[in-house]
Amino acid sequence: MEELLNELKEKFSSVIVEIQEKDYPTLICKRTGFLDLIKYLKDEKGFKYLIDLCGVDYLNYKQKKFEERFEVVYHLYNLDSKILIRLKVRIPEDDCWQHSVTPLFMTANYFERECYDMFGISFKGHPDLRRILMPDDWEGHPLRKDYPVYLEEEQEWKTYKEFIQKVKK
């Protein structure tokens, strides 16, 4: 495990910002050059299984030690050596995009669509970036921290309102 982390640190010194020891080794990466890192991990190091890809919104997080608002978290697993590592990419609010890994992992297709749906992070290079869980004409991104849990009456989904009016007639 340590060998791998040292090797990665040497080879991708410009991409990896920090290595944290948590429940699993966590690599904090820059957006530029991230694709090279994940490609290297998949093709050379055998991390072929992408367990999970998700976004996290850190708006007004008290213990925050960085400037950017969002994080995209990847959990990669090596089926031969049984190593699980976590990659994190920080994404600023005003420049809200990330490289898509769908060409490398077919799993990432739906995960990235969900991340786009819930956080509004767009993935460059994704073949079909649409909303997945919410309706196509929904406004806003529900899992952002500034999105309310209960909507006001004016903010409700338009199509639903139209439907209710139709039924009442």
């Binding site: 948590k22 429940d23 699993y24 072929k48 299984y49 992408l50 367990i51 999970d52 998700c54 996290v56 919104d57 997080y61 008290k62 213990q63 978290v73 959990h75 089926l79 049984k82 699980l84 976590r86 992992f105 077919m106 799993t107 297709n109 739906y110 969900e114 819930m118 909303r131 997945i132 869980l133 919410m134 309706p135 196509d136 529900p142 899992l143 849990v149």
Partner: protein
């Protein structure tokens, strides 16, 4: 969404068309196992393209979880995969325990393992019943439901609920088994294995069953990993990846079992893997029951487990060198849960169920991410359905074993 309806309308109005034929399957179709909608592009009866449309059962569990405290969030997990809710409870509890640094007593671990394996048997029985019914074998359905009913009755004795039992709690389980339940489970483990054999004789050599399952939806091992398939779907392709063996949790480290795998990666192999898993689950329950007397009388909940009603704020007094008379110290706010993040995954009956939780020190999770197997499996339908007949799509949906409550969250 609107575009698909427009295409349909155009097709109806035109008398003759050269374009491929578009058809809409679901969301009310009985064999899509819920509210799954598939938009198909056909050429004759062969599927050229298939687009799953999900989200009809989206309840915002992840957003709701951020407004409830850790113990309340467990109740939400019942509603994800409502066929095997004990497995979901365990996944949530494991992630929260990892975050809080709790050590679960051994007896609670054994009880959890038993409940999880019962959930696996329940799930596989329901899967076999509905999958066989979809393909055309009616008889198995009734037999499977008879056995599932027995297990649900045992669940009712354990915790009072049949489907949505929040039996697993953060730090252990809610209450201990009584002797009556243990006797009933012993009786079940005695009588169940011969019944699996009975089901196999009903369909194993049935010519219709073989024709509908052999060579359908073949997934090579490399593609299965790349697609993110887990559970029996991955093991059917010949890769023995099982979270119970690879990253053991609860009492799986101390029990003995075999991870069955298939060879060809088709629908029939996945069926064989699940039937073998039924036997292994039964074997695991038996081993755990034998180990229960060793831990008789031990607590089933960790001592420092959080209270069901977690306080919103906890204050500890400011350390003062010399306490003064008549001065009230305001105190410093103490984090209830350690700040940080945790990731835990389990082998749920359908595949790998992972929970990633981020905490900010308060009594509510800052972010609660659930990676569900059904969501990933639905994304594999377009790959598997290509160049198959429409009728085979029913077999593909059945073999993936999806539950829409699980995928839409």
């Amino acid at each position: 969404m609107a575009t698909y309806l427009e295409i349909n309308k155009k097709q109806i109005n035109e008398e003759k068309w050269e374009e491929p034929f578009y058809i809409n399957m679901g969301p009310q179709h009985p064999s899509t196992h819920g509210v799954l909608r598939l938009f198909l592009e056909l050429e004759g009866e062969t599927i050229v393209n298939c687009t799953p449309i999900i989200g009809y059962l989206h309840r915002g569990v992840e957003k709701l979880g951020e407004t409830l405290n850790y113990n309340q969030a467990i109740v939400l997990s019942d509603r994800l995969d409502y066929i095997a809710s004990a497995a979901n409870n365990t996944a949530f509890a494991l992630a929260f325990e990892k975050l809080m640094g709790l050590e679960v007593p051994r007896r609670a671990k054994l009880l959890r393992t038993i409940v999880c394996e019962m959930a696996r048997i329940c799930n596989h029985l329901l899967w076999l019943a509905t999958h066989a019914l979809d393909i055309g074998a009616m008889t198995v359905f009734l037999y499977c439901f008879r056995d599932r009913e027995w297990l649900l009755n045992i669940y009712e004795k354990i915790c009072g609920a049949r489907l949505t039992h929040s039996y697993v709690r953060v730090g252990g389980v809610r209450q201990d088994f009584t002797q009556e339940i243990i006797d009933e489970l012993y009786k079940f483990t005695e009588e169940f294995p011969p019944r699996i054999y009975d089901y196999e004789t009903l369909i194993d050599v049935n010519r219709i069953w073989l024709k509908r399952t052999k060579g359908i939806a073949v997934v090579p091992p490399e593609d299965a990993i790349n697609l993110g398939l887990t559970g029996p779907c991955l093991r059917g392709s010949g890769i023995a990846y099982d979270v119970r063996k690879f990253r053991p949790y609860d009492a799986y480290g101390e029990v003995d079992f075999v991870v069955p795998t298939g060879k060809n990666g088709d629908t029939y192999d996945r069926y064989r893997v699940r039937m073998e898993e039924l036997r292994q689950s039964n074997f695991i329950i038996r081993q755990c029951l034998d180990k229960l007397p060793e831990t008789q009388g031990e607590p089933v909940l960790a001592e420092n487990a959080p209270d069901l009603l977690m306080p919103e704020k906890v204050k500890e007094p400011k350390p003062q060198p010399v306490p003064k008379k008549g001065v009230i110290f305001r105190g410093v706010e103490k984090p209830i849960v350690p700040v940080g993040e945790a990731f835990a995954s389990i082998e749920s009956p359908k595949g790998e169920l992972a929970v990633y939780v981020v905490s900010d020190g308060s009594n509510k999770p800052w972010r609660l991410r659930i990676r569900t197997p059904s969501f990933v499996h639905i994304s594999a339908i377009p790959y598997m359905a290509k160049n198959h007949m429409v009728a085979d799509l029913i077999a593909i949906i059945g073999t993936l074993d999806i539950v829409l409550g699980d995928s839409d969250r």
